[in-house]
């Protein structure tokens, strides 16, 4: 490993080192402002390093990691999301927990884990990145030690995530036994080559079974139906900023590595495309139908994100360059939007020690807190895929990719599923704007923290800007995808 390698690894090293530093500082300095500042600063520095790494990309650093513009695209998204979350978390934690050093340290470690996922080129990096992220999340989910809901969510997540990890590992082992390689792309290509010989060759059967176990492992992490059971409980129990991390960065990172692994081969080629199609349809409808029953905003968003992952699977099933671009663009839009929605939940929750998650807590905020409510409304519209928002264009891109690939049935299923979803998204807006006489008090209409107000404003601006002028974003996505899937 050379100095140049270290330079291109800087985007991963910076958050890991900063995490260690925060942890060490926490031992003899309880200044929360310092921890918070370090975390946000480190993520900003990591973003800077990402910018510099574009100069040396693409670069393979040992067989494990590859720093190319695809990885850098996702690193930007992940670090930006984590940085914003760290900002939202400060006032939230201030009313709940005295010790914040571990929180920021783990947040930085989680960012490292997600970064490794985005760069990984090898099953070992995939596994270690995923586990760094997951083990950080165990503690982050249970961070509110006095709140039994938080602890319970952590326990639930721990058990199911570890179980899914062992499935994932077994899948990797089977694939390795069949193909003899642990590199992502060659392994998946070998699975695709072996799959048609099922029944004649032992390796083909191992490869197929391995592919299924791998997919089940991924399906757990992404919360696809029927492996989604953990998601609503964990979303509800976890502290709001951590929920946002699970919903955005962690899913984005797992999707990044999934696309890198299967994109060039095509999910349909690996075998079991029919099964995955069924899973995608179940996920879209299951998520949306279950969301109809929720009275808790965090659970509602959890089910909605289940459904959104179903849409992402549609893009993945569509395959090809168009599918990969659509999926990447969808992830971009989804992450920004979900971040904004949870940002509002976090800010509202930071005004008192009790979590603002039941829908009743949002009654009439459209008139009491016009700016926050408008932000949430924009995000909800974007999740529902209504113009002029990023979510709308993302939906068009995915539908387009599916239709272009000749999967019209899947496209229609997605359209109908998002039609179902309109109902519960509208419910949120109904609660915010239509259920209570407005209250003339406009005293505290802005979020208490200036930084958070700016962060939300940036997110709203981005969501609408992407919806109105997507060309530069499409271009960024095109460049990123071109490195893993040359047109």
């Amino acid at each position: 490993m050379s100095g140049a390698d270290l330079w291109s690894l800087a985007p991963l090293i910076v958050p890991a080192l900063a995490g260690t530093l925060v942890m060490l500082l926490g031992g003899f300095n309880a200044n929360r402002r310092l921890h918070h500042g370090l975390a946000v600063g480190a993520l900003a520095a990591a973003l800077l390093c990402v910018g510099m790494a574009y100069g040396t990309a693409p670069r393979t650093v040992t067989p494990l990691l590859i720093i190319d513009s695809y990885a850098l695209f996702f690193l930007t998204l992940i670090y930006a999301a984590t940085g914003l979350l760290a900002m939202f978390a400060r006032p939230y934690l201030a009313v709940r927990e005295k010790d914040t050093d571990a929180f920021y340290a783990l947040l930085l470690f989680a960012a490292t884990g997600m970064g490794v996922l985005a760069c990984s080129n090898h099953f070992a990096a995939l596994f270690l990145g995923l586990e760094i992220l997951t083990v950080s999340l165990y503690t982050l989910i249970g961070y509110l030690r006095e709140d039994s809901r938080s602890l319970e969510a952590a326990a639930k997540y721990l058990v199911l995530a570890a179980l899914s990890s062992s499935f994932l590992l077994f899948g990797i082992a089977l694939v390795y036994a069949a193909t003899g390689t642990l590199l992502l792309n060659p392994a998946f290509r070998a699975i695709a080559d072996l799959a048609p010989q099922f029944g004649q060759q032992a390796e083909a059967a191992w490869a197929l079974a391995g592919g299924i176990f791998l997919f089940v492992g991924f399906a757990f992490k992404l919360a696809l139906v029927p492996f989604h059971m953990w998601s609503p409980d964990v979303y509800q129990g976890a502290p709001a900023p951590v929920t946002a991390l699970i919903a955005t960065g962690s899913k984005g990172a797992v999707l990044a590595v999934l696309l890198r692994a299967v994109g060039p081969v095509g999910l349909g080629e690996i075998g079991g495309a029919a099964g995955i199609t069924v899973l995608a349809v179940l996920t879209m409808f299951g998520g949306n139908l279950l969301a109809l029953l929720q009275d808790d905003l965090k659970r509602l968003l959890a089910y909605s994100s289940v459904a959104h992952l179903g849409y992402v699977m549609v893009a993945l099933l569509a395959g090809g360059v168009a599918g990969a671009q659509a999926m990447t663009f969808y992830v971009l839009a989804y992450v920004l939007t979900t971040l904004g929605a949870f940002g509002v939940v976090t800010i509202l929750s930071s005004e008192s020690p009790c979590e603002a998650d039941s829908l009743a807590a949002y009654r009439g905020i459209g008139w009491r807190r016009p700016w926050l409510a408008a932000t949430l409304a924009v995000m909800i519209l974007s999740l529902a895929g209504i113009p002029p928002t990023a979510g709308f264009l993302a939906k068009v891109a995915v539908l387009g990719a599916a239709i272009e690939a000749g999967r019209l049935g899947l496209a229609i299923a997605m359209a109908l599923a998002s039609g179902v979803a309109i109902y519960f998204y509208l419910r949120v807006i109904v609660v915010m704007y239509m259920q209570e006489e407005e209250d003339a008090t406009e005293a505290s209409s802005l979020p208490s923290s200036f930084a958070n107000a700016v962060a939300l404003l940036v997110l709203v601006a981005l969501v609408i800007a992407i919806g109105l002028h997507p060309t530069p974003w499409f271009e960024a996505v095109r460049v990123a995808v071109a490195t893993i899937l040359p047109a």
């Binding site: 008139w367 519209l381 209504i386 113009p387 002029p388 709308f392 264009l393 068009v396 539908l399 387009g400 239709i403 272009e404 019209l408 496209a411 229609i412 359209a415 109908l416 998002s418 039609g419 309109i422 109902y423 509208l426 419910r427 807006i429 109904v430 704007y433 239509m434 259920q435 006489e437 407005e438 002028h469 997507p470 060309t471 499409f474 271009e475 095109r478």
Partner: protein, 577 residues
């Protein structure tokens, strides 16, 4: 004329709405005035277009003013607005009804005034975009965009059961809209795969070669969205709720404009893009249209709520538009345009009156109304005027519209026309019953109420003048729309003569059977004016025409130019095979 004026038509109301919400934080009146100003500016822009293109319009089949800016080049999407005679009429209607909506809600709305005006103006801007868009993606963009402020209008400022109505409205329109989106994308990729040119441009997508069965599915995707808006008979159930629960301004925009986007979409997009599919599905659509006419009228009669009654009468009136589109005849289509304009004015006014009554008596139930004539004579006189307009009394635009539709459809499908006439009769009964229950008879309400204020007189006056002008001087409007419609019809002759046109065969047989039914030029003054104008497309397709059925041509008088496109289509088919 500068093409930026088209963008301005969208931007001005939107800016006005934005300013309203900002100024509205200080004072409600400021919000009202700035919206009114923006609305009037929009009217001025529309008027400029109208007078500026008086000379060019009758000669131009295509757009007279276009603006194109590259928007999302990756998908071949442009910000492409274009103006022709057809959408110019709807632009003017939108501008006028937008102004009326602003005036009407002046005193009615006291809560979150700025936001209310933002919603009105944003809806107006979205509808403008729908009418002007020449890019399918842009069209869909505005199509969805106009729903959001309308949803807020119904849900926030509506009446008792507003939330359920708003959600129902949104779900119906959104789900059908998603099917439209899938249909647009399918068309886009089919066209791209066939030609290598991936574009959302309307003019380039015209004439895309698609197999009939695929085309039918895509066509149905378009029809789903437009039929929900129109609304077509089984898809109308959102309409009575939404219209009833919406605040007055919302009802006016819904009935006056939103329904028209459905009819406009059918004429502009659905049929011309898929002529074969449209031809093969014409019969069921026409039948559904006529069922809507009769069903709407019957249900209107049995309502106890003033607004619901007007809402059902809308279902009835818009059934005529569906009939005209299914027949696809220049005369019928001109009638459809007339019908939509006139219905927008008259029904908008009826909802305004219902809103005024509600504001004064806090009820819309017939059992608590009655005898209003003696209390509020001005209001009642206006009501009478608009009721007469709605029932299609000669002298009003609705008469011209319904008459032309029936005239155009009769040679094609006399049975359905008979059904339509029955619907008119039933509708008349319903509307007269409305008049009777509300304004005549004994008063059931002791409340002392004020008659119209000058502002209300102004609002209703605008609409009254419009209704009368449409009825007495329809020629300029017909002449404006005529070349565009002729252009659209000439583009939508089926391209693939090999495909059997199952449905249309039925209709055409009917047309040939009645071809010797010689129609006299209508006695109505308007008829004489239509005839010469509508000869333009006749000359173009004369070759195919004489080749097929000389009997039809020689026997049809100049007034029955409607017979031409159907036989022209037949001629085309024959030369092709």
């Amino acid at each position: 004329m500068s093409p930026q004026i088209l963008t301005a038509l969208i931007a001005v109301p939107l800016t006005g709405g934005g300013l309203a919400v900002i100024l509205g934080r200080r004072s409600d009146d400021a919000a009202r005035w700035v919206s009114l100003l923006a609305a009037l500016l929009t009217v001025a822009l529309a008027a400029t277009l109208w007078f500026g293109f008086q000379e060019t319009l009758p000669a131009a089949q295509g757009p007279v003013l276009e603006q194109r800016i590259s928007w999302i080049p990756r998908y071949g999407i442009e910000f492409h607005l274009a103006l022709d005679g057809l959408n110019l009429l709807f632009v003017i209607l939108t501008a006028c009804l937008g102004t009326v909506a602003v005036l009407i809600s002046w005193r009615e709305v006291t809560r979150a005034v700025g936001a209310h005006y933002l919603c009105i103006m944003a809806t107006v801007a979205g509808i403008m975009g729908v009418f002007l868009a020449y890019d399918l993606f842009l069209f869909y963009f505005f199509w969805e965009l106009m729903l959001v402020p309308m949803y807020f209008l119904i849900g926030v400022w509506g009446h008792e059961r507003r939330i359920a109505a708003a959600i129902k409205f949104m779900i119906f329109t959104m789900v059908s809209g998603l099917l439209l989106l899938v249909a647009i994308l399918t068309l886009y990729y089919a066209h791209g795969a066939a030609t290598g040119n991936y574009t959302m441009d309307y003019t380039r997508l015209l004439g895309t070669q698609i197999g009939l069965s695929t085309a039918r599915w895509i066509f149905l995707g378009f029809v789903a969205a437009f039929a929900v808006k129109l609304p077509l008979f089984p898809l109308h159930t959102w309409l009575p709720d939404a219209h009833t629960e919406a605040p007055t301004a919302g009802s006016i925009l819904l009935a006056g404009l939103l329904l028209k986007t459905g009819g406009y979409g059918l004429i502009r997009f659905a049929v011309p893009l898929f002529p074969d599919a449209a031809a093969s599905l014409a019969t069921p659509l026409a039948v559904l249209g006529v069922i809507g006419i009769i069903y709407g009228a019957i249900l209107a009669y049995s309502q106890r709520d003033l607004k619901r009654m007007v809402a059902y009468s809308s279902v009835s009136h818009m059934g005529f538009v569906m009939l005209a589109v299914a027949v696809w005849q220049i005369t019928a289509l001109q009638g459809a345009v007339m019908q939509m304009l006139a219905h927008g004015v008259a029904t908008g006014a009826m909802f305004a009156i219902a809103g005024m009554i509600q504001e004064r008596l806090h009820t819309r139930d017939f059992s608590e109304l009655g005898g209003l004539w003696s209390k509020v004579p001005k209001l009642s006189a206006f009501a009478l005027l608009f009721v007469l307009a709605s029932v299609g009394l000669p002298g009003f635009g609705n008469f011209v519209g319904e008459f032309l539709i029936l005239l155009g459809s009769f040679p094609v499908t006399p049975m359905l026309v008979a059904g339509g006439v029955l619907g008119i009769v039933l509708g008349t009964i319903a509307m007269l019953a409305l008049m009777q229950r509300t304004f005549y008879g004994p008063s059931r309400n002791a409340a002392v109420i004020a008659d119209l204020s000058p502002r209300e007189v102004l609002a209703l006056g605008i609409l009254a003048v419009a209704a009368v002008v449409l009825g007495l001087l329809p020629q300029p409007f017909l002449r404006a729309a005529e070349p565009s419609l002729a252009g659209i019809i000439s583009q939508s002759i089926p391209f693939n003569p090999a495909d059997p046109e199952v449905g249309l065969d039925v209709l055409r047989t009917a047309a040939e059977n009645t071809a010797d039914f010689s129609l006299q030029p209508p006695s109505d003054p308007t008829g004489a004016e239509i005839a010469p104008a509508s000869r333009v497309p006749v000359a173009e397709s004369a070759v195919g025409l004489t080749g097929t059925n000389p009997g039809v041509t020689t026997e049809s008088s100049p007034g029955s130019a409607h017979a031409i496109p159907a036989s022209a289509r037949a001629g085309n088919e024959e030369t092709g095979s």
